[in-house]
């Protein structure tokens, strides 16, 4: 009942409370009600616990760095992946943002390094090529240590545009430029696949022996 009464109020009895709620509000997917619930929950926790929570946020914002080589998030100037000697630095997988690195890492299938663009070209959203980390990629390619660039951008129109832009930038160099395969998802029934994907999968079919376990 007390909480309900609080939610109904425009302004809270405590300015501290109001400030905290304001801070949570506006995070992705969080509105005023959820923000209130989160803040009241924090008040129920032990003080050291909240202290730790606040510290971690504080440190995150102040100390996180972008890897100088691939622009991935990192604690050091160069990220764990780029620094790892076991990874193949001559293969670069180009992705839009950090979430894509995590997604690909979780597959445990990729042994090369990454290059995070920081978005995709979309003039409608005011993002042009100069707003992305494209020059550092072309520098790497021109350095001569790269054998293959894998374009792993989303299959939206903007993703396609960005891939094509990158392709035009680096096609002159004598490296392999590939793109991730697209088509029927693993475990999908054909009849439920959309026609465009299915049509494309037929046109860009692969030799069966490539699908056999090696």
């Amino acid at each position: 009942m007390y909480i309900y009464y609080l939610c109904k109020m425009e302004q809270f009895s405590s300015k501290l409370l109001e400030d905290a709620i304001q801070s949570f509000q506006g995070l992705p997917g969080v509105g005023r009600k959820t923000a209130t619930r989160m803040v009241l929950h924090l008040l129920k926790l032990d003080k050291p616990q909240v202290e730790h929570f606040a510290q971690s946020l504080h440190k995150l914002r102040l100390e996180i760095q972008y890897c100088t080589q691939c622009h991935n998030l990192s604690d050091q100037p160069i990220c764990n992946i780029c620094v790892d000697q076991k990874r193949d630095a001559s293969t670069i997988c180009v992705v839009e943002d950090v979430r894509d690195v995590m997604a690909i890492e979780n597959t445990h299938q990729y042994k090369g390094v990454y290059h995070v663009l920081g978005g995709k070209i979309s003039p409608m959203d005011g993002i042009g090529p100069t707003d992305l980390f494209i020059e550092t990629l072309t520098d790497k390619v021109n350095s001569g240590h790269v054998k293959e660039v894998i374009l792993a951008l989303s299959t939206t129109m903007e993703g396609e545009t960005t891939s094509f832009y990158l392709y035009k930038k680096i096609q002159e160099s004598a490296i392999t430029i590939s793109t991730i395969a697209r088509g029927i998802s693993f475990g999908d029934e054909l009849e439920y696949a959309d026609e465009v994907t299915l049509g494309r999968s037929i046109l860009q079919r692969t030799p069966y022996e490539n699908t056999l376990a090696k």
């Binding site: 003039p123 042009g128 129109m157 396609e160 545009t161 832009y165 049509g199």
Partner: protein, 360 residues
């Protein structure tokens, strides 16, 4: 495909109405303002989940009522399909097929094909080029999903390219390199769309001509062709490059398939400029009948044909020919609205054609 039964509640001017229809010809007759067209619109709603008049859902609720509901029992390839559309003020429209609600309206559209012929569609003949492109695109998309995909991609790239041009002009940094990335994509999708349009008209023209000749008893020579900046084998990339200067001045993409038009002619004269009202109406009617016939061939089911007030402005000979035409085997179920019940009944009797009349 056919509609066996229709139930309408609080839809437009109708409070409640329940009608059973027959296969073949169904005539809805009555004085002005009784709601004949509204019943056709109800059928259209069940097929396309919206009004053919493009009104908002709220505007279709009967005055002072909170909701409307439409139900239809269709028969398609031997299966009975119960379709229900309901809309309550301030809520989401719901479409159900056999009691199961659709998550996306788009999944239903195309499931029950129908073709509407009505005076409002005269804009296809006499309106601007976008009306003709919309007609063409809607028709092709119904049987060619790849065309629709290419068209949507094209439009997306076009929006991006226009934004880019605007930004480059405003910031005074003209970057031909980035522009050429968009040009290549426009060319790729645009070329596909153009090719399908040309191919479609090639296939469609003979069908259309047959209908027009039948309705007009072979009196006039008609033409139907795509008019595009890509005609005469023009290279798409070259077209875009040539127009860059103009694009820069006007701050949008001035060349491409989004400027295509359809040329409708009678005796090689533009029907929009020189055709009489009766000729324009005959043209539109033939176009729509050909559409029905064409879709039937592509979809393997006969779309429901709805004729709203088409006999108005046509001479008696053309009316007779039109009725003969639509009652032939190929047309399946047909709905007709008209104000003159006696005249129409007489005509059907004279031609010896079975038709069921409903007084609205």
């Amino acid at each position: 495909m056919q509609l066996d039964w229709l139930h309408v509640l609080n839809f437009k001017n109708a409070q409640e109405r329940e009608i059973s229809f027959q296969p073949g010809i169904n005539c809805l007759v009555g004085p002005n303002g009784k709601g004949k067209t509204n019943l056709l619109d109800a059928i259209y709603y069940l097929c396309f989940t919206k009004s053919f008049l493009n009104t908002s859902d709220t505007q279709n609720i009967r005055l002072d009522e909170p909701f409307f509901m439409l139900e239809g029992r269709f028969r398609k390839e031997g299966n009975e399909e119960h379709i229900q559309v309901s809309f309550k003020r301030g809520q989401k429209k719901q479409v159900r097929r056999n009691k199961k609600e659709y998550e996306k309206m788009a999944d239903h559209i195309g499931f029950l094909p129908a073709v509407m012929v009505c005076p409002q569609y005269s804009t296809i003949v006499i309106g601007g080029s976008e009306e003709r492109r919309r007609w063409l695109d809607t028709l092709i998309s119904q049987f060619d999903p790849l065309y629709l995909q290419n068209l949507m991609n094209y439009q997306r790239v076009l929006l991006q390219r226009n934004s880019l041009i605007k930004q480059m002009v405003e910031s005074n940094r003209w970057d031909e390199g980035t522009l050429s990335v968009y040009d290549a994509q426009l060319a790729k999708y645009g070329q596909e769309v153009y090719q399908v349009r040309i191919q479609f008209i090639d296939e469609f023209m003979p069908v259309f001509n047959e209908f027009y000749q039948f309705i007009t008893s072979g009196a006039e020579e008609v033409g139907l062709k795509i008019s595009s900046q890509l005609d005469q084998g023009k290279n798409y990339a070259a077209l875009l490059t040539e127009n860059r200067h103009k694009d820069r001045a006007l701050q949008y993409t001035t060349a491409g398939i989004h400027k295509d038009d359809l040329e409708f002619t009678i005796h090689r004269m533009s029907i929009k400029k020189f055709g009489s009202q009766g000729q324009q109406k005959s043209f539109l009617t033939a176009l729509k009948l050909a559409e029905q016939h064409f879709l039937k061939g592509k979809l393997n089911t006969s779309p429901i044909l709805m004729l709203d007030d088409v006999f108005d402005k046509l001479d008696p000979q053309r009316v007779k020919q039109l009725i003969k035409n639509i009652s032939s085997e190929g047309f399946g179920q047909v709905f007709i609205t008209d104000t003159g019940s006696d005249k129409l009944k007489h005509l059907f009797e004279e031609l010896g054609i079975q038709a069921k009349f409903y007084d609205i």
